[in-house]
């Protein structure tokens, strides 16, 4: 600890804060350079090439030829099999299928784990176990689930006991594929969410809850009226990150449907379609257009979530009421 102080001292003697300023900029150089070269420039190129016809038909490259908005037009064409509306809907349905159980279970677990009155044992063990599924690579986990649910897998061996030998083809139907994808995303992410929410709940001052108890609030009243409002910022964070992650869903449905998004493209996500365009034909034009659309969708959704949940109506109303009360009080005093 002594050393940095010692170093600062001679600088202080010069009596100028300006000499420190440059160090801030110097320390920022590596990141800024890396960002500009590896992120900003490719991003600009993505935007640029989305207005071009630019793909490979081995061994030749076609383009880049400027074609204006054609890539976007075909994406938004409702008559196309893979249009943005269908793909976004597919993606969101699969996200919701995983997120709803995830947030419910996570809230419940986080509430239990942080509730000192329950005196739960082996908390560390539980917290580690529920986090475990997130440690496995999503693609590997998908393979595992695919094998479990395949027509010769263990789940179907059980089903065959009841149906008389007829397996249920989980990966043939839109509904069951969405169910399995939802189950997987739930399993993978509820531990992570639980830990985030626990952090938020542990930040709540115990005296608030005690006060509520003394006032005679029930457990569920405390949960809904005190805990949930107080962890709202973290809830919004969880919702937005999960939504952005969900819109970029790729590996799980890709592996489970073997990249086809079958039946009839009803389980194809936005990124799966992007991958379809880039993997064989390296279609930078179309793939760029899809990326930009995904970016815009993410931005819009995040804004909706942010303004819909983060700024609390009751809070605003309470503020208003408080201000009015203060005014009234002043008036009264003035009189």
């Amino acid at each position: 600890m002594a050393q940095p102080v010692a170093e600062i001292k001679p600088a202080k003697k010069k009596g100028s804060i300006g000499t420190y300023k440059k160090w801030g900029y110097i320390f920022m150089i590596p990141f800024t350079l890396a960002f500009l070269i590896f992120q900003a420039w490719p991003l600009i190129q993505t935007f640029y090439y989305s207005f071009f016809e630019y793909y490979r038909s081995f061994p030749d490259w076609i383009g880049p030829n400027f074609i204006g908005l054609e890539n976007f037009v075909s994406l938004f064409d409702i008559n196309e099999l893979n249009n943005v509306f269908q793909l976004t809907l597919n993606t969101l349905i699969m996200w919701v299928a995983g997120f709803v159980p995830q947030i419910i279970i996570s809230l419940l677990f986080a509430y239990w784990f942080t509730n000192v009155r329950l005196r739960l044992r082996c908390l560390g063990l539980f917290k580690t176990i529920i986090y475990m599924p997130n440690l496995i690579m999503a693609a590997a986990f998908s393979m595992l689930i695919f094998t479990l649910f395949s027509e010769v897998g263990p789940i179907n061996e059980l089903i065959k006991l009841f149906t008389g030998g007829e397996p249920f083809y989980f990966f043939n139907y839109t509904g069951s594929i969405i169910g399995v994808v939802g189950l997987m995303n739930f399993l993978m992410w509820f531990g992570n969410t639980t830990i985030l929410l626990m952090a938020a709940m542990m930040g709540i001052n115990e005296s608030v809850i005690e006060a509520a108890e003394i006032d005679g609030a029930t457990g569920s009243q405390i949960f809904w009226r005190i805990t949930v409002p107080l962890i709202r910022p973290i809830l919004v964070y969880v919702l937005i990150t999960s939504l952005v992650g969900g819109l970029q869903m790729f590996d799980v449905p890709q592996v489970l449907t073997n990249g086809t998004g079958n039946p009839g493209g009803t389980t194809k996500t936005l990124i799966m379609y992007l991958n379809e365009n880039i993997s064989t034909s390296s279609n930078y034009g179309k793939a760029g257009a899809i990326s930009i659309v995904i970016f815009v969708i993410c931005a819009i959704m995040s804004l909706i979530v942010y303004y819909g949940f983060a700024s609390d109506k009751t809070e605003r109303e309470a503020n208003k009421a408080a201000k009015a009360a203060i005014k009234a009080e002043r008036k009264r005093r003035a009189e």
Binding site: A139, N262, T280
Partner: protein, 500 residues
């Protein structure tokens, strides 16, 4: 302390999961998650111990290969699975110079992953370090024309393969590997006529005989085939395993290419006939609803399978069927011998329709630093009648030499152990001459794969009509091959698909 351990665990958990995310992100193609690099030792000790006596028989006809002056000591071979690697390790590697290191770079075929890898790496080959250059790569019938007519493959004459060497090869195997100027760019060690392989015990139960000639008489056209399928069903068997089993009997006889000269996609009538027939068979319960190469499909070939037979061409019998038929797999210490599972309980007949399926060619990648070494391997493995005869007798693979195969096919003493002593080469030999590999395009693999996957939903009933399934197919092709034009009329999805 307890908390600290937990914290450390969680922290490492986070790190690992981040690392996991990164590695998923970097695999641009889904199928390439299975991609792996396997380095083979340059010492031959390993192969000798596992190969056994039989391995030495065919391998002894391979001549020792020497390294020409100035050639690199690292041989990189691109392939899409381990099938040929096993044969290479067994037969060729013991004859390579001891200091040559061989590396197989494997990327799976599915979803075009292997082709994508080649498309990316071949153009860069000239500028790579000698040890990283692709020296040799294998390709399949479904995309043979794609690489042949480009600057990325080398004329085999430059590698030392002479006209004399290839004189006995089947005409179609060299026709398909010639570029537009007539230069031969690749050679194959196999010809791939197709047959119908059936389980002898099931045939006996259903037809009362397992004799190949009598079974053939019962299956000689599709009407008879269907009658037998009904009989098999009544006895509790499936005639076929899945939807794609008959695909090649139709696609191998297609009268027009997938993509015409103006780059319009066209579905051959033969394939629509396949769709109708397969839908019919599925509804009647003649198949077990599996898809090609799936676990369920392989399980149908294993002991306990209830499937009458499989359409397989030459390589399918030695690469796939014989391995799948075992009770105890080779990797678990089992041997490919009579008594292990269904080994030895199969037989082959022509089936209702002549066809061919697949085939593997080997080409030298332009820019290789080992042209002579690659040429020698080609000569020793593909143009070596003595080796070919022993190889065919040992592996059940159909060697690409008319004279050799004529000799074996008429040899009364030869019989395949796997096929219960039947000489299947006699059947293959009869039809191998008729193979015509016309109508090839560079889009074939994507088209075949996507057509099958789109139609699966029609077969299993999750999509109501053929037209909707065709739409799905056109959508997939549009993304995969933007330069192929798909019909406009078919783009608009019918109302029923929207309703879902």
């Amino acid at each position: 302390m307890k908390k600290r351990i937990l914290a450390a665990l969680l922290a490492s958990a986070t790190l690992i999961s981040i690392a996991g995310c990164e590695s998923t992100a970097s695999t641009s193609t889904p199928a390439s998650t299975g991609g792996e690099t396997s380095t083979a030792d340059s010492t031959a000790g390993g192969t000798e111990s596992t190969g056994g006596d039989a391995a030495q028989d065919a391998g002894q006809y391979i001549h020792d290969i020497t390294l020409a002056d100035g050639e690199g000591k690292k041989l990189n071979i691109y392939a899409w699975n381990e099938d040929w690697k096993k044969q290479f390790d067994q037969y060729v590697k013991p004859h390579l110079p001891a200091d040559v290191e061989v590396e197989f770079i494997i990327n799976p075929n599915e979803g075009n992953a292997y082709q994508n890898k080649l498309d990316t790496d071949l153009p860069l080959n000239a500028d790579k370090d000698a040890n990283e250059k692709i020296d040799m790569f294998l390709f399949e019938a479904d995309y043979a024309t794609k690489y042949v007519d480009t600057q990325y493959t080398v004329d085999v004459k430059e590698l030392g393969v002479t006209d004399d060497d290839i004189s006995a090869m089947y005409q179609y195997t060299t026709d398909v590997a010639k570029d537009s100027a007539g230069a031969l760019k690749a050679v194959s060690w196999q010809a791939t006529p197709g047959l119908f392989a059936y389980r002898r015990d099931i045939a006996k139960d259903v037809l009362g005989t397992d004799d190949p000639e009598e079974v053939q008489a019962a299956l000689s056209d599709w009407d008879k085939f269907e009658e037998v399928a009904q009989k098999a069903k009544d006895k509790g068997y499936f005639m076929l395993s899945g939807y794609d089993d008959t695909y090649r009997t139709f696609s191998g006889n297609a009268t027009k290419p997938w993509v015409d000269a103006d780059n319009n996609i066209q579905v051959p009538d033969e394939l629509m006939a396949w769709v109708d027939q397969t839908k019919d068979y599925t509804d009647k319960g003649f198949n077990n609803k599996t898809t090609l190469w799936s676990d369920a499909w392989s399980a149908d070939q294993a002991p306990g399978g209830k499937v009458f037979g499989f359409f397989y061409s030459t390589w399918g019998i030695n690469f796939t069927l014989s391995a799948n038929s075992l009770e105890k797999a080779v990797k678990d210490g089992g041997k490919e011998e009579v008594g292990n599972g269904e080994y030895g309980k199969w037989a082959v007949c022509y089936g209702p329709k002549q066809y061919f399926w697949g085939g593997t060619w080997m080409a030298a990648a332009a820019g290789t630093d080992n042209p002579k070494l690659v040429g020698s391997i080609m000569k020793e493995f593909c143009c070596n009648p003595e080796f070919g005869k022993a190889f065919a007798e040992e592996t059940n693979d159909y060697y690409n030499d008319v004279n050799v195969m004529k000799e074996i096919s008429s040899d009364p003493d030869y019989g395949s152990e796997f096929l219960g002593g039947q000489n299947h080469y006699a059947l293959f030999y009869e039809i191998a001459d008729d193979i015509v590999m016309a109508n090839c395009t560079k889009y074939d693999q994507g088209c075949n794969e996507d057509f099958q996957s789109a139609m699966h939903d029609y077969f299993n009933g999750t999509i109501e009509s053929k037209d909707v399934a065709l739409n799905t197919f056109y959508g997939l092709i549009k993304a995969k091959y933007p330069d192929v034009k798909v019909p406009d009329t078919a783009i608009a999805p019918p109302a029923e698909s929207k309703a879902e």
